[in-house]
């Protein structure tokens, strides 16, 4: 592991107090790092959405698409001035892979081209690196004319990342822990391989745990989209009998329930989230006799976004994008710091 000592600010967040007479803080830090019993924070800040969204047209490209989430460890030697070079290298790499006989997709016969660009407007603070947008376009021959269309798109970002970790990284590293991919799996694998070879990073799948899905449900219950009224949908899965239970809630009711629980303007605590979910569970039990507490929450869908526990995400609203991304970045940082081997790799 490259970084062994997280900053003190980061440690204080987990409720550990370093008294003056503490003999060896280093020992305590490493013990905390390697324990299997680590837990996520009990409180989270609500981001403020009254700031205007810059670059709205480019961000609109990200909406309404089903993204697959991946984890990326910090990139070594990535430079924003060499984006053109990266585009050429990736195109060459895809061409050689195709020559080797790796099947991509029927229809992509002619040359494909990759394009790297910067995606402005997605960083929350000065310390976050700029987001990067990757597109792979292929020329397909359609009826005598050569048509260029986007075959695969992906973007990497870091929104409101953990300050302690970002500052403890050496200068050559850039941390963009989230990778969103939309397109054929084989192309995702190729892009992943190229990224891993070029920047010495490690890309792995990013499943979302049920507790984090409950946090998302609570955080997004309060957000309204002005134009589109979208029901809040929750899906539960019962593994032994392969049964899926889905519940649709009118957004007004969800907001009313959340407002009656939530008190503090700035923060959401875990007790509020648990109370929100247990009210839904008891309501369901009273009406249908099914104990949702014994099942597993797999999908949350609101007007803001929809998230599935396999790591699939769909964003609907440009305005509320900063309710979703900082939380995912925080989960990604957790994964890097505490559970580097629990996820399966991309290839």
């Amino acid at each position: 592991m490259e970084h062994l000592t997280p900053a003190k600010a980061g440690m204080a967040r987990f409720g550990v107090c370093f008294a003056n007479t503490d003999p060896s803080p280093v020992v305590l830090r490493t013990v905390k790092r390697h324990t299997a019993f680590h837990h996520t924070s009990a409180k989270r800040k609500i981001p403020r959405t009254d700031l205007p969204v810059e670059n709205a047209e480019q961000i609109a490209v990200l909406l309404q698409k089903q993204w697959r989430l991946y984890h990326v460890t910090p990139l070594y030697g990535f430079s924003y001035s060499m984006l053109k070079k990266y585009s050429n290298e990736l195109s060459v790499f895809i061409a050689t892979e195709k020559k080797k006989g790796v099947a991509i997709e029927v229809g992509i016969e002619l040359a494909s081209k990759a394009k790297f660009s910067m995606l402005a407007g997605l960083r929350a603070t000065e310390n976050d690196p700029e987001a990067v947008f990757i597109q792979i376009m292929a020329k397909t021959a359609v009826r005598q004319s050569v048509d260029e269309k986007v075959v695969w798109s992906g973007w990497m970002c870091c929104v409101d990342g953990d300050l302690g970790l970002l500052e403890s990284l050496p200068v050559e590293f850039i941390c963009l822990p989230l990778l969103f991919a939309n397109g054929p799996e084989t192309v995702t694998t190729m892009v992943g391989e190229w990224l891993q070879k070029t920047f010495d990073c490690y890309i792995s799948a990013f499943p979302i745990r049920s507790e984090n899905l409950t946090w998302m449900a609570a955080m997004w219950a309060n957000c309204f989209s002005d134009s589109v009224q979208r029901m809040m949908e929750l899906e539960w899965f019962v593994p032994p009998i392969q049964l899926t239970i889905s519940l649709s809630i009118h957004p007004e009711d969800a907001k009313a329930l959340w407002d009656s629980i939530h008190t503090n303007e700035d923060e959401i605590t875990i007790e509020e989230v648990e109370l929100f979910m247990s009210s839904l569970h008891s309501h369901f039990y009273r009406h249908f006799g099914v104990r949702l507490a014994a099942t597993q929450l797999v999908k949350v869908s609101t007007a803001v976004a929809s998230a599935h526990c396999d790591g699939k995400l769909k964003l609907f609203n440009c305005k509320h994008i900063d309710h979703v991304l900082p939380f995912l970045t925080e989960l990604a940082f957790h994964q890097i710091q505490y559970q580097p081997r629990l996820c399966s790799s991309i290839d």
């Binding site: 987990f14 409720g15 550990v16 107090c17 013990v31 324990t35 299997a36 019993f37 680590h38 837990h39 996520t40 499943p207 745990r209 049920s210 507790e211 593994p239 104990r291 507490a293 014994a294 099942t295 597993q296 929450l297 526990c309 629990l342």
Partner: protein, 171 residues
């Protein structure tokens, strides 16, 4: 003289309880064990007078089901406080399949630490695993019932308490 000792298994999932009880009774031992199963506490008041003394209580919690943890938490209120001096044990099932977990192991550890009792992660899927856990529980029962000379339940619980504790106890 036939010595009989009673172990009580409490948990929301009856399949796990049955399997574990069967594994415990199959084990070779030099004393008689009776295993009593309950879905939750308090026990019904009818057999109050004929109920024997319980030597060890084992609480089963499933990491895949929030409901089992809530049942156990509700049942803990009905246990006499003297039992927590080494005669209570927590079992955490389902830690292997990370994808289907809804509770964090940390929460269960916090619960066990707040009651000063050991938490044993267990897998009850295969017979070998069940017999391993059964042997361990029988060993704890032997100490709790006073069969091991020089060792009492309280001494054992303080010996196996790990040096790293959850944050509630640290500061």
């Amino acid at each position: 003289m036939l010595l009989r000792f009673w172990m009580k298994l409490v948990g929301a999932d009856s399949l796990h309880l049955d399997q574990l009880a069967a594994a415990i009774l199959k084990e070779n031992r030099s004393f008689e064990v009776n295993v009593h199963l309950a879905k939750c506490l308090p026990l019904p008041a009818e057999n109050e007078h004929s109920r024997p003394r319980i030597d060890l209580i084992v609480f089963l919690m499933d990491l895949r089901s929030q409901h089992s943890v809530e049942t156990v938490k509700a049942s803990l209120a009905y246990v006499d406080v003297n039992y927590f001096l080494g005669k209570v044990c927590f079992l955490a099932v389902g830690g292997k399949a990370v994808k289907h977990q809804t509770i964090e192991m940390y929460t269960l550890k916090q619960l066990a630490d707040s009651y000063s009792s050991p938490l044993i992660p267990a897998e009850l899927e295969s017979t070998e695993r069940r017999s391993v856990i059964a042997q361990r529980l029988l060993q704890i029962l032997k100490v709790a019932a006073g069969l091991v000379p020089g060792m009492s339940a309280l001494v054992l619980s303080s010996l196996i308490r790990p040096s790293f504790k959850t944050e509630i106890e640290r500061c």
